[in-house]
Symmetry: C2
Subunit: 217 residues, 2 copies
């Protein structure tokens, strides 16, 4: 049985383990780490699968070097340092439905590197990223194509910029949140757009914006 990317189940596990191990320890696992924790009976099996992963371009290896497994970064190894990876769960478009974060297989989702300066690790639990589509938040200096970092939370204070799901419409959108008496106002940060008024029953807050990344390359 193979997964979508042509890896065996075991290879998939190894791949994730490597990532997780590095996340936990800050250095790469040795073959025997993988063997032990994944309960593989022999180091040679690990080596075998590592070789397969390497040939498939999923990992980089430095022969003979202890703990020399690295994850490819699409590019030649250059300046590298500790950071955090958060899952990039998709695109958030004004009015378009977004896959429920909780239902996405976070382990497999594409990852975005988050600068430590933006999010320290203890604050990083339950942080995920979304690519912004549209310009509804332009006045908040968030443009089309930017990546927003969200922390999962189900409540918000007035003025918070949040990703909210509109239950009836089955749509998720990025708006500023205001509780007004019995209704809720979802305000785009774009003076040409109108706010959405709805009831608290109909909104489900998915997360609050905690950071923005933009590439101008």
């Amino acid at each position: 049985m193979r997964t979508a990317d042509g890896l065996s189940v075991r290879q998939e596990k190894i791949l994730r383990y490597i990532e997780e191990f590095f996340g936990k320890h800050g250095y790469w696992p040795a073959i025997r780490d993988i063997q032990t924790d994944l309960k593989i009976s022999s180091t040679s099996v690990v080596a075998y699968n590592l070789k397969a992963l390497q040939e498939k371009g999923k990992i980089n290896r430095q022969g003979k070097v202890s703990r020399g497994i690295t994850l490819p970064t699409t590019l030649s190894p250059t300046l590298i340092g500790p950071t955090h990876r958060v899952p990039l769960l998709g695109t958030i478009t004004a009015g378009q439905p977004l896959p429920d974060p909780e239902q996405v297989d976070i382990g497999r989702a594409e990852k975005v590197e988050v600068p430590q300066d933006i999010a320290s690790a203890d604050k990083l639990k339950d942080v995920y990223a979304l690519k912004v589509r549209g310009q509804s938040m332009i006045d908040a200096l968030i443009d089309d194509g930017d990546i927003v970092l969200l922390r999962r939370q189900e409540t918000a204070n007035n003025g918070d910029m949040v990703a909210v799901m509109l239950v009836e419409e089955n749509a998720v959108t990025l708006k500023k949140f205001y509780q007004e008496d019995s209704r809720i106002r979802l305000q785009p940060a774009n003076s040409t757009m109108q706010p959405i008024y709805t009831t608290s029953d109909n909104v489900r807050i998915q997360g609050r914006v905690v950071g923005v990344l933009r590439s101008l390359f």
Copy 2:
């Protein structure tokens, strides 16, 4: 002779070497890597200084584990992955002088983690970061407090957002660059501000903006 942070010259070198090594290879150096490249005569000397560095909190070590040196991240190890570190050289304020990047000791400068998504490594040569002060670029969605990533370059195309030094004024500022006949127009991205007109003699381009980071915590 000691440096400002109470490290010996050798310790300082080792520290920088570790960072550089990880940047280059993606995994941490072994004691013998340090020994060889820094031309230290014995592994025990390296171990000795590593121990000192550890006691001073400059590095983390996992005893016995090969290549288990890691740089502290102020926080408990959590999700960590490859990224790039670029030096944060200071603050760029409209009209304020900025230390010439080339004159700053880059090795010691504070570092900013840059997401790979923003800057791929081969493009990352000579990239540095500046914290933005003021709102002269607000229309370009760059706010006070944002961190901009700049790639060092001395020329610019029309419309590029660049950090330019005005030689006469001895000031550095963030503006959009336009060559107009014999003069140069430096246009703030803020409709309430006026452009600066000057001659090409008076401008020295320090870098072009290639990315923006913002933390909303």
